[in-house]
Point group: C2
Chain length 274, copies 2
């Protein structure tokens, strides 16, 4: 008997999105982006949270015993280990496990995620699955040791602000910094490779021509989903941070601000190494 | 007939909080903080979102006509003007209108608001009420021209990270920067005076002694609720920003990062003025 080499598996993308209106700009870009990925040979799984009627509220009911004090981290972890998580949560976890890459698409509401999407993070990314320690091995699950190492994530959003408002000196905050809690605190925390976000500004004024441009720009980013360089966030456990989770004094001494958590170009260039 | 001078009105505080467990650290600090404010003579209105069963999901149902395309900004604004907003939203808007100050209290989940609380922002802070233009006068409502000028807001949160993780070089991002979308993009946007946030780190390890310390520290911050200096965010319409919503070239030339949106000490000192 001979062994036939298994074919390269089809890359699987989970497309997670949140918009209440199926004829919105967000929805049109989703339909177009998914078709583009499929034409390129990807398998695409969808979680269209509004269409699914997703419940975003993390609660103790069904997780803690009635009348017991509910600990949102420890009790949900126990429910995971004992196979008692709600069915809707387990379904989303299975999708994420199957995916090689994740596209997270939403309109920016109050400079953050729509509540229904934030509640996907709150309920699906539970301790023992997305962070904490591995229930079987006891290994820590975080950043470069995170459970989702090797998965890639592209955040794609629409917003009302003009383009410069989310630039380096933009009034709404430079986009990667505005979304630090999502890109670094959530996605990188779980071990994912985080791509620079894709944004469509001035979204209230998108005419047919602007839509065509936005669509083409999104397709370019989707073509690089598995290959584009990720944001160079620092690893947590290789000496850049102290045990108090603070940047070590020798790293970019005296500097502050969210950009210190990115490895800068000159640090990567061996000719500049100390 | 003589006019009696009206007494100084009792300051009213809206205490907005979100935790699923009534015996949690968040809940204990809430009970203690509210009692402290009442003892100091404040009137306190409460919105305990989990206890209220608050629905955080912004939807078109009941706002747009059946079958019509739902625009989450324009259609909700029209519903406001026509008095058709859902009853639960109108109730929260009335509380906010009545309040001189707001305390927003929550556990930090995935480096952001619990979904139920984000959905309070999404549904309550609608165009024409919290931002946009005034439906009666046509005046713009934003930042120093915002509708909530004169109201103050204190964000109070608990988090698992150690204290230095949210410091200036902390791995989770300096707290004011991590919460920029809330403090600046939401609260300052609506015109509020935004106090530096109050945080209880290492919240999973709070014993009785640590609770007593956290409670005392919170009470100090509550004593300063109406008087403590607010974060000095720049006004939007007085020359610091261009019409593209970017920091003007003459303001902190060459600097980037979220802290450029704060007026720095030396800019306020007349001896340093150009």
């Amino acid at each position: 008997m001979t062994t036939t080499p298994s074919p390269t598996p089809t890359p699987t993308v989970l497309w997670l999105s949140a918009h209440p209106e199926p004829r919105s700009l967000t929805a049109s870009l989703r339909v177009s982006g998914i078709a583009h990925l499929r034409a390129a040979g990807h398998e695409v799984i969808e979680s269209d949270l509004y269409a699914m009627g997703w419940d975003p509220v993390l609660r103790g009911e069904g997780i803690s015993a009635q009348g017991e004090r509910f600990d949102p981290t420890a009790d949900v972890r126990r429910a995971l280990v004992e196979g008692r998580l709600p069915e809707d949560v387990r379904r989303e976890q299975a999708k994420l496990t199957a995916a090689n890459a994740l596209v997270v698409q939403f309109p920016l509401w109050w400079y953050g995620l729509p509540a229904i999407l934030k509640g996907w993070m709150d309920r699906v990314l539970v301790s023992g699955f997305a962070f904490g320690t591995d229930p079987r091995t006891g290994r820590r699950l975080r950043f470069e040791d995170g459970p989702f190492r090797g998965k890639r994530v592209l955040t794609a959003l629409t917003l009302g602000d003009r383009p410069r408002a989310i630039g380096p000196r933009g009034k709404s905050g430079q986009l990667e910094e505005l979304l630090f809690g999502l890109l670094h605190g959530t996605f990188a925390y779980t071990g994912m490779d985080v791509l620079p976000p894709f944004a469509v500004p001035s979204a209230d004024r998108v005419d047919e021509e602007a839509f065509t441009r936005a669509q083409a720009a999104l397709h370019v980013r989707l073509d690089g989903l598995l290959t584009d360089p990720a944001l160079p966030y620092r690893p947590q456990f290789r000496g850049d941070y102290t045990e108090e989770w603070e940047l070590a004094p020798h790293v970019r001494p005296g500097e502050e601000g969210l950009s210190v958590h990115l490895v800068h170009e000159e640090e990567r260039d061996p000719s500049h190494a100390l």
